[in-house]
Amino acid sequence: MTTAVTSYSASRPEWLKYFSFCIDHKVIGIQYIVTSFLFYLIGGALAGLVRAELTTPEPDLLDPSLYNGMFTLHGTIMIFLWIVPAVTGGFGNYLVPLMIGARDMAFPRLNALAFWMTIPAGLLLIASFFVGPASTGWTAYPPLSILTDQKAGQVLWILSIIMIGTSSILAAVNFITTILKMRRPGMGLFHMPLFCWAMLATSVLALLATPVLAGALILLLFDICFGTVFFNPAGGGDPVVYQHLFWFYSHPAVYVMILPVFGIISEILPVHARKPIFGYKAIAYSSMMICCLGLLVWAHHMFTSATPDWLRIFFTVGTLLVAVPTGIKVFSWIATLWRGKIHFRSSMLFALGFVSLFVMGGLAGVMLGSAPIDLHVHDTYFVVAHFHYVLFGGSVFGIYAGLYHWFPKMTGRMYNEFWGRVHFFLTYIGFNLCFFPMHILGLQGMPRRVAQYDPQFTSLNVICSIGALILALSTIPFLVNMIYSWTRGERASGNPWRALTLEWTTLSPPPTENWHGEPPLVTEPYAYGISSHS
């Protein structure tokens, strides 16, 4: 097994490459995952403070404007520095070239550049907190973001998001080119693992939508710094236009955060249920359908923003239609499990947990998509519940599933299964305690983004905060397990799960350029129970 070590310059210690401008897609993938996880810990600590404040109805723990700064930084970190970089930059970079039999991404230097942009962007974001935190939510609606007292923080916040957005555009170009042009000869598009389809759809969305966000933020910056009035009604500007531009990006952004995770789940279920993925083509097409529909439904975030009636109807129909491709995926996953032989490894537990929680989030989403229903629940805790079910129950559970599943491949070591399961059950229980009651809070009348609330909502809020505490604790077994196993875990073979996709045909961890010799040709990545493999 000692020959498995990479051919990276022998004169320097192996780990140093993770701190360098390394152009190996696997190093970059791991750099993204580890960096984004560190940001996740910061974002999580902020969430803990927010939940601590909310255990009582009075705004007593934090100064109310500091509270606004905290949930703003929390949301911004979770979206832009945790989930997006982890699922696209992290898993995308690590897996796509391996899955299509390529030696690296199409543009390796651009790839490293995209990663190294996220670090200054993240530091800038955190710095913004100390010059007077941006306090206008991750949505930064004008005129509040223009009239704010924390102008310096708001400006740094904008610059940081523009930088991350640029990084994500670069990554999108790279993924599209790699997937379309770098596949091993003989591998057609419909031979690709579904994760690659998901990354293709994600990258198209990121490429088309992110520039619009950048444009909106630049105009906002001008309004704040140079007295222009694009969005400032005091000079005849229109704040609603900002909302259109913002959501034109930010609705697709939610699919940028979930499509790769759909891909991860489609990889994990067949391996650990020992069955072919059910409905390969339907799942591949549904990713592309979500990509198209996802570009056309943004104003469902604006049903109360003086949107014309006919538009609200249009966006209602479009939004509800998203449920169709999403449903196709969920039903196909369940059919994949049907009559399988399920191994309950940690990755599978998180994948199954993902399906169960994502369904809940999707159903709440369909309700929110109906304009009249949304009139009542918009900007309440019901929405907070919905997006945590899809983003935490969805994306974060999917990331954990993927981390356990590919841990042996990435590190060459096995993780501890017992502590993985403990991590899963703590997370599952903490999550539901924390976020399920929020549906009820919203329906009953609690608005979001408040440090102070009606005392009738106290007991449910206390339950939520207890759930949050359990969630915080649940990361401890995870971290200990990962760090310990990475350094001392049992050595992993090339293919410990007996999986059929290409990344499992090479060593764990794979050598530089991924295969010694030619990568084998795999055109049936899910042929469990069909051909004689194993």
Binding site: T316, L337, R339, M367, H376, Q444, Y528
Partner: protein, 294 residues
């Protein structure tokens, strides 16, 4: 064997549907309705919650069943059956959701049109500063009570066109259609009364409208739901639904009181009025100043 299986599937589906219908009717997730629009809303809401609950039971049920039944037995290293598609099944689970969401879209549209009234929510764009174009509509539609609403950091102010009355509390007559004409002085706010199931942003630079017909006497919370600054959570007011007679009486009393120069009560957040924006309309500024002096 096969017949037995069909019977058990039919029974299970029947059970799920009954549970869905039951939960749709008995969910009690919403506060008691207090407006005509809210009643239409609740029927749609209950329908959707019922359907969602049914789908939830179906999918989670299948999932739990799969987890319990399709476990790998210890020592079994074989794969499951190599089944990767079933066109009929896939058409089924594409077609049923399409029909369902299209039906829900139509139903939603009908309810939406009722909730916002026949009249579209028109938006009057003003091209100058808000305070110079602040128009109080003195004569409204027949039988419609118009109230002008001004939202500012961090208070609601209600003025009653055709009277001198300005108040921090919204009074409306039972059973009459109410039309709110909303303006925001500084940033975006949103007017929400949970019992009415209605919400509308008040956006600086334009007038937005909200119509409803109260159906229950009582006092209800008005909540600002759009993040509007540090004390956003404290931006609350009350809506009092009076009988039409009481409502007239209240208006008259208020008019007298204000002629005598008595300050009116602007509910929460008094301590923040020190930072009142200077572009607040004069008559409202006056009221707030009195409040501060007290």
């Amino acid at each position: 064997m096969k017949a037995q299986r069909i019977v058990s599937i039919v029974v299970l589906v029947g059970l799920i549907i009954s549970a869905a219908v039951w939960y749709g009717i008995n969910n009690h997730l919403l506060p008691e309705a207090a407006g005509l629009e809210a009643e239409a809303y609740d029927r749609l809401f209950n329908t959707m919650v019922g359907i969602a609950f049914g789908v939830f039971l179906l999918i989670e049920g299948l999932l739990v069943f799969a987890i319990l039944v399709f476990q790998r037995r210890p020592g079994d290293e074989e794969d499951g059956p190599g089944i990767g598609e079933n066109l009929r099944l896939e058409i089924l689970w594409t077609a049923i959701p399409i029909v369902t969401v299209l039906w829900l879209s139509i139903y939603s549209t009908l309810v939406y049109n009722r909730m916002v009234g026949k009249e579209p929510l028109t938006i009057a764009h003003h091209h100058a500063h808000p305070h110079t174009t602040y128009v109080a509509m003195t004569e409204g539609e027949e039988g419609v009570t118009e109230v002008d609403v001004t939202a500012m950091q961090f208070a609601w102010i209600f003025t009653y066109p055709g009277t001198e009355v300005t108040s921090g509390e919204l009074h409306v007559p039972l059973g009459k259609k109410v039309r709110l004409n909303m303006q925001a002085m500084d940033v975006i706010h949103a007017f929400w009364v949970p019992e009415l199931r209605l919400k509308q942003d008040a956006i600086p630079g334009m007038t937005t409208h909200l119509e409803f017909t109260p159906t229950r006497l009582g006092t209800f919370n008005i909540v600002c739901t759009e993040l509007c600054g540090a004390y956003h959570g404290g931006m609350r007011a009350e809506m009092v639904v009076d009988t039409p007679a009481d409502y007239q009486k209240w208006l008259a009393e208020q008019a007298v009181a204000q002629k005598q120069g008595k300050a009116i009560a602007i509910k929460p957040g008094e301590e923040f009025f020190a930072s009142i924006p200077h572009h607040v309309p004069a008559h409202i500024h006056h009221v707030i100043n009195e409040e501060l002096v007290r």
